[in-house]
Subunit: 609 residues, 2 copies
Amino acid sequence: MLKNISFEAVDLHDGFWKDKYDVNRKVSIGNVYHRFEETGRFDALRFNWKEKQQKIHKFYDSDVAKWIEAVSYLITKDKDGYVEEQKIIDDIVESMEKNQLPNGYLNSYFIQVEPENIFTLRDSHELYTMGHMIEAAIAYHEATGKRRLLDVMERCMECVENAFIIEKTAKFVTDRHEEIELALIKLYDHTGNKKYLDMCMHFLDMRGQGLEDAFGTRYNDLYSQSHIPVREQFDAVGHCVRAMYLYIGMNEAAQRSKDEKLRIACERLFDDVVKKRMYVTGGLGAAKQGECFTIPYDLPNIDAYSESCAAIGLALFAHSMQKNELDSKYADIVERVMYNNMLSAVSTDGKAFFYVNPLEIHLRSVGLDTAVNDEFKRWFPRRQRLEVFNVSCCPPNVNRIIAKIGGFFFSELDDSLIVNQFGALALDNGKIKLDMKTEYPADGKIRLVGKENTYKTLLIRRPWWCREYELKGAQVIGERNGYVEVAVGESFELELDLKMQPYFVKTHPMVRYDTGRIALCYGPSVYCMEGVDNAYELNAVSISVDADIKCERAEDCVELVVKGYVDDEFDGLYCFADKPKTEATLRFRPYRMFANRGETDMLIWTRMA
Amino acid sequence: MLKNISFEAVDLHDGFWKDKYDVNRKVSIGNVYHRFEETGRFDALRFNWKEKQQKIHKFYDSDVAKWIEAVSYLITKDKDGYVEEQKIIDDIVESMEKNQLPNGYLNSYFIQVEPENIFTLRDSHELYTMGHMIEAAIAYHEATGKRRLLDVMERCMECVENAFIIEKTAKFVTDRHEEIELALIKLYDHTGNKKYLDMCMHFLDMRGQGLEDAFGTRYNDLYSQSHIPVREQFDAVGHCVRAMYLYIGMNEAAQRSKDEKLRIACERLFDDVVKKRMYVTGGLGAAKQGECFTIPYDLPNIDAYSESCAAIGLALFAHSMQKNELDSKYADIVERVMYNNMLSAVSTDGKAFFYVNPLEIHLRSVGLDTAVNDEFKRWFPRRQRLEVFNVSCCPPNVNRIIAKIGGFFFSELDDSLIVNQFGALALDNGKIKLDMKTEYPADGKIRLVGKENTYKTLLIRRPWWCREYELKGAQVIGERNGYVEVAVGESFELELDLKMQPYFVKTHPMVRYDTGRIALCYGPSVYCMEGVDNAYELNAVSISVDADIKCERAEDCVELVVKGYVDDEFDGLYCFADKPKTEATLRFRPYRMFANRGETDMLIWTRMA
């Protein structure tokens, strides 16, 4: 099995990811903190809700938990930093310790607002919030050596074990929102206590056994992946974020328990997601209703759901699957998310976030709906990012994923170092001192300088989009499952050029919304047109597959200038198809940067001329 | 103002429309009768519901009324025929006469099932069913001279006048489903009693004044065109059939009252419908929910609603608008409906009907839905026609429109005979004996032989799709608003050739579902591919605008054989757009004939190569 190399061993240089990392560190983390303070999310855990009488949500703890987790990763890379944040966290932890129930139960909402309903409602996110708090506790312990929050959560897990496994006093058998499963695996790894692996297995085994409170009125069991036992699940269904968190838990559990059925289910689910249900941006979720997967190949653009948390979940799922076998398809998916939906989720200034990431914006359509009632009015996603949401799971999820971004780059197998992602950074894991220089994703040239190297070979991912590459400074042994294998000595200098040219992709013919359309891409980045750069009805624009494309280096990205066409306006609905078109020069910019220059139209899938 | 020439003056020869007429006469009429007997629709009006204890609907009367209307038109053209049908009708009328309430009220459901709720619920279709029964009464009186049903309905209108205008005892001011308005105009024309025109005006004036029972829970006022006063309505909204019936009533009222505001509203509404909300087949209705118009240019294919009654309503609306001014755009729309959605509504054998006319069928997508609950499950229209529906408004609507099809062909203006539609038929209206020979829509050649002609000129519509034509036997004076003007003498022989070649249309760029796609047409007929002829994933097929197309005369239609391409299958969602395609020979048949050879895929809008 492969091993992923932790972000702790990776230092980002100046460059693309360092910039994102710094915006996250300097702006986003603080901004999310202040919004969460304003909305009482921290106060909830200060257990002063009664005095403040603020609105408090069942899942507030998970928002704070993800923020603590993010800060912990930053501390890990900067041991003396974040003194104020540590103070905030330590105070919160003290309050949690004080207010945790004698039996160990901990959820700020239920303790303060509905103590009578503890562990009675399956949809109340109690195990979900505990799961996120476990992830925070582990990260904070690793970062600071402080184990107080960890102790709090271990006591809390005793309460969970009693309520769900030993005394079975809980009124439901699995949480409607998965997360505890993957958290328990992390807790097992961190503490070495096998009980947590067993608890994870228990929750996985109980799922879809028909024992759940059906809760049928609003949602069915597909919604929470509770329709059949997990080992029989081969089609991705229901709420996308819940699905991703479940699949990660399943795969991590399979890796530790050697549960073949579980592993096979994960492989089938992964392929089902990426081959039938994934947006070109790495987004997931076709339907707002239930934030769900719908039918295969159902990927609407203008009313896409594509929740930020779902894309992040997919990257984490692929990152986990990557350990099962050497196959570049996993890192290809991580890359697709990293450079597209993961970054479209946050504004370039780091202050605001998308919960839903549309794949098309068409302002003229918005607000025109005359459906017979509000419930059935056509829904359009927001066109601008917000600083905080009522349900604000996405912002701190972006915080923690970017704070830990270094963990996506490398893994190892036997005597081979695997280079999964590309960026300007240094790796020092005791087995190699590796320096990677590149302008990726603006350019495909990558310089790899290794010192004190103990690996026999490098396995460098050849991205799926890379039709041609050149490697200097070492001899290529061959290609293995999408990785270029290179023999290396104790020190080496490699020059790899993943020839980066603009290219068009098309979808599988069953993606009805996109047939007859193409998406312009450059390296790992999906591109889009915005109204602010292209003063046309974007759906009137068409491009030929062999269009002339110029790359222009803008200060913030590579822009692509394309010679295309615009349909001449016509009055009415239908006209002869051979009606002439007018030539037009079109400007495309990376999708991840859309909606940063005011409200304007946006289109990825452009008509084929 | 133009005058439409009645179907009474038109005799269909052998040929396209005579075949449809005969299938309707020999099969459909009888089939609908038997289905309606089986489902108790006739028994409802025999007022023996209590004994039979059958299910009975508020709107059953309107189903029977449309059937009576259809039979009446057939009798008009065959005075000695339909003896049995007349017997059935006379018995029903006798029963209606007997059971009509003393005050004249007549609705078989409310009299038998909910007498306490007469005129209390706006959504109960009482005025709607009465309106259809008025149309039936007039048609039956004209056909047979029997005025008993007419008397019944005139008494019924006294009751309506009392309840809604004089004593105002009714609990609502306008019916949620329009129809009474246009029926009252017909009753005014037929009886010459101005009271009926005033009643029509009353219902038009009361609509959208904020006086309606809002009925807000399920539908809003847009649904029933009650959101604003009718003279201020410029955008078509809500339930499509209701909208069409209202607009017809508005336009007919405007013509008789010289109400300019009303006429202008109708013109705006007509343009809004045909320029922003009409399927290429002449269908209307984007949303199943509410059977409604949604936002402009929102014309989904696979889950189109496109109710048969709405298309018929559009043809009747255009036929009414045609009298306002000489403009071929109205007859162009009638033609679009006649050769496409009006005929797709009924099976070629005449036995079964579509309520909803999908523009695409994709069997692989059906039943795969995993939406979170049934209410939000993606809805797919039926793929096969049914003989009867729970709500079965469409079958008898097809019966009556085809029984009266001859009425669409001619109108007159001053000394000009206007030829709006083309078919093998004879016109004898006392002003001309005209014989029209043509294989239309299989061929564009039309032979017109006139005798005893008193018209000075012919105005022959040049269809919008006709780029080139040739006329022999008379000299063309010029073109007037889409009509070719020809001077003719007391007798004449013309040879008109509307050059008919296959052609592709594209949609307005804002029709998102169809951009990058083209629809193959031939003359007035929209064509489609069916799986039974094309063993491909139809969405993988692409055609170039200048594709090589062969016309093949099949026994039942002209088939079009096109050289196109099929995308090579690929695993996954996204691939390079320049991936090679395979050549394929594709067979297209008229859309009106789809789904007559078993369940199979169907596609109109084909990807552009």
